[in-house]
Symmetry: C2
Subunit: 510 residues, 2 copies
């Protein structure tokens, strides 16, 4: 039975001070600037009303008897698998959504807020493949899964290990969630995630999050300690395992991120506005259901609206349409006072220029829409089919730059430095001025991989491009990785639970 290795060398280094790669410090980040809004309040209302029309006229399929029974009891109209929602019913139930909640990793340093202008970043989740420059693309496996966890742990900008950074296909499906969650709970002390893949798996995930923190069930209910993502099976459908995830998480007060998969032209109307109407309808249906399960349960409004390439049907990300959809989704989330999720996505097949500019076309609207959790923040390639070691580091650079942009600017007479200008005088330079010397160590963002040396120096040093520098950096981060200490009692309880559940066969039946 594979277990994450503690790594002899890494363990020996555990007493060492900080890593030698300079990073921005970890911490709760906030966006001090107003959100960017590209449509009017009236237009937001038009989308809102159109989505309520969809819920009333067309409705949404809920592929779980238990869910439809609860919805019927709450006043929804049931017609086979179809559930239609009255406008007043939706308005009534979404009132109980908390506008902000706190997620608790096993290390209190990673406690994070979701709502308002708080922003958090997670790793890539769920790709079936993994790639790096040395070994190329291969099927996901437990060893790469653990290495990507270590890399996520080592990067300060990463707040959340948001699901499997790659699928550990070499672990049997019935026990995969147990082995992988144990590894996540040990190799990282950041915020945890559980997949909604049936009742046993999500219950196991919640229990592992509880045991990792060493808390009782009441504390778990008061302090959300993991979260899940529930995708609508767009258009207008929620499947059984996802709905079970809603029920189990909402009952235990663990957050559910509702993310319709509304690719314009394929699973949603071909217009950005139409895809957003459908996204909004699906999200409201899911959120209404979660509030019926447990009024006040934490939920997040998720946007994943993008478009397909109409020539091939392939999904595209980081497109101009994605920018518009993400910014408007933020406006919709704020209209309801819901926490908001979006993603750092791209469709490139390599950690190349396309992957960088499409990620930038994703990250900018995420930040400016006041996204509270940027899923797939680090490491995603190929529209989510591959996790890339190099892209993890490239994305860490992009996200760190945005975090530095979000640090408020000092507009004070001292910052203006007029005395320094007088001291230096026309035609002089500021390198040696007192104003400079007092500030030069922390004045500017220090990059992870950007190389600002002149061409000659860079060429003499081997003309290493940014992707290859990212490769060097991920290797160094892994070499310097230190497994976070864990309370021995919590670790023992966690191991006992996982070992027992594995002995039981893991997820069997529903």
């Amino acid at each position: 039975m594979p277990r994450p290795k503690r790594g002899g060398a890494a363990a020996k280094r555990r007493g060492r001070p900080t890593a030698t790669i300079a990073q921005l410090p970890a911490g709760q980040r906030q966006n001090p600037y107003p959100p960017v809004e590209i449509i009017s309040a009236d237009q937001v209302e038009a989308i809102h009303h159109a989505s309520l029309d969809v819920l009333q006229r067309i409705g949404v399929n809920f592929l779980l008897d238990e869910a439809r029974e609860m919805l019927a009891a709450a006043g929804a109209e049931i017609d086979g698998q179809r559930v239609r929602f009255d406008r007043a019913m939706v308005a009534q139930h979404i009132k109980s959504v908390p506008p902000i909640f706190t997620l608790h990793g096993r290390n209190p340093a990673w406690q994070r807020r979701f709502g308002k202008n708080y922003i958090n970043f997670g790793t890539v989740a769920s790709p079936p493949h993994v790639t790096d420059l040395d070994r190329g693309r291969r099927t996901g496996n437990f060893e790469d899964y653990c290495q990507l966890l270590r890399l996520g742990q080592a990067l300060n900008i990463c707040d959340i290990v948001s699901g499997y950074p790659v699928e550990a296909v070499d672990i049997a499906p019935a026990v995969r969630h147990l082995e992988t969650l144990r590894a996540a709970a040990k190799l990282t002390d950041k915020n945890l995630f559980g997949y909604s893949l049936g009742r046993q798996r999500i219950r196991d995930a919640i229990e592992i999050a509880r045991l990792a923190r060493g808390i009782d069930h009441d504390t778990l209910r008061r302090e959300p300690s993991m979260f899940t993502v529930v995708n609508a099976n767009s258009p207008l459908q929620y499947d059984g395992p996802m709905l079970i995830g809603v029920i189990e998480c909402a009952r235990m007060n663990q957050p559910v991120v509702f993310t319709p998969f509304t690719l314009a032209g394929a699973m949603a109307p071909i217009t950005v506005a139409g895809a957003l109407v459908q996204q909004n309808a699906e999200a409201l249906a899911g959120i209404t259901f979660a509030q019926i399960v447990n009024p006040g349960a934490p939920v997040v409004y998720g946007s994943f609206t993008s478009n397909v390439d109409m020539k091939s049907g392939a999904p595209a990300f980081g497109t101009p349409e994605y920018v518009k959809a993400t910014l408007i989704s933020g406006q919709l989330a704020r209209r309801y006072n819901f926490p908001f999720r979006a993603s750092n996505a791209n469709a490139s097949n390599a950690p190349d220029v396309q992957s960088a500019y499409e990620s930038m076309m994703s990250i900018w609207p995420c930040v400016q829409a006041h996204c509270n959790v940027v899923m797939h923040g680090l490491g995603w390639l190929e529209g989510g089919l591959t996790a890339s070691y190099e892209k993890m580091v490239i994305d860490a650079e992009l996200l760190q730059m945005m975090a530095a942009f979000l640090e408020p600017i000092d507009i004070s007479p001292e910052a203006f430095g007029i005395d320094a200008m007088e001291e230096v005088g026309p035609g002089g330079h500021f390198f040696g001025s007192a104003h400079t010397l007092a500030r030069y160590e922390t004045a500017f963002y220090a990059p992870l991989i950007s190389d600002w040396r002149n061409f000659e120096t860079w060429a003499e040093a081997g003309a290493v491009d940014a992707t290859a520098r990212a490769q060097q950096t991920y290797k160094q981060l892994l070499a310097e990785y230190q497994q976070p200490a864990m309370d021995p009692a919590a670790e023992e309880a966690l191991d006992d639970f996982v070992d027992r559940r594995i002995a039981e066969g893991g997820a069997v039946g529903e």
Copy 2:
């Protein structure tokens, strides 16, 4: 004496329809969204007042007797080369700046507006080196200069050939401006630029712009037909050739872009706020002078504030500090109701991931600050020391994506497509719906180089990365380039003038 070749094959193709590379159509672009503002109106006023303090207390060196005489006559305080400006004097003179003006290329299709929410893109200007993947980095020369002009002409997103896309070092300095401007006027029909490198050169540039359009001097004065950039020799200094450029252009009503070169930590205080105070002081000094020369002359407020790498002193671009400086510069420009210029800059030594993400960190704030002219929009590398063929195309993709983002979104019941959702129903797909079929050809942005095929198809096709695809695209664009037709009388007059000026020896003396 080198002359741009008309290119036999290209000339034969001149009758052909459009190029086979699909691009966004050319046209005047506007930003329909509100500008992004990251400091308060009070903070903008604080920077404004601090810069007036600088102008009053420290002043600016004007290294030209003629300029200081004009400034003295207008009431400035002169002390050697130093010029100090009274607050009221600045306020009085900047009142006459036109908030918007129109630039006229020789083809009316390229007529462009500068001011309000109009946005225009220019090529890289002035690098001494040129590079491409085949041949590597080399000293700038006339042949590459012409090829980059052709590429700029071929790219619809490029509105302006904004200076030499690379320096033609193989042409003697005294006649370089004549040969290069003749080539620009013939190989492109877009908006022209002249360097402020002494009286004869800028006068020749203005005359070439006039002759290329075949207009008289009165029309030239009414219709700006070229523009120049005047950089402060920061800190707080304008040199003689630049000031001559101001005098000559302002007298002929040709626009002057005032761009202080305020690299925080080197030529400006180490704080973003301090660098902006100095930028604002320098820009106001230059703009005040231009309005003294000719009240109402068109000018542009230019921002180039970035930071240096404090370890090496090397300039950095596309940094978080650059983002802040650019957005706040837009706020300052709007405070005065000035047209606004910024740049698409990066400090990478290769057309790699760094060049893409730093460019994105430049382009986003340019667009969101309501920049009217994005200089160095296409092709710049190495902090402006090299022009890259591949980066020209990569940047065209980035700028096209932003242009598509700026196309207003359709928020109408027809766009919502609720009938299509009903037709498709839960779990279906929209590929064949009437709503899709009516829109699929133009629904989404079609990229220049982004490859959205799945990994297997992409790998079978050679696993060509985005930079290599940009190489293929620039070659195809050059192969498809068609020299724009020119009025024979205008061409003859242009040739006569340039030949005569070359026979005279070009720029001799001042």
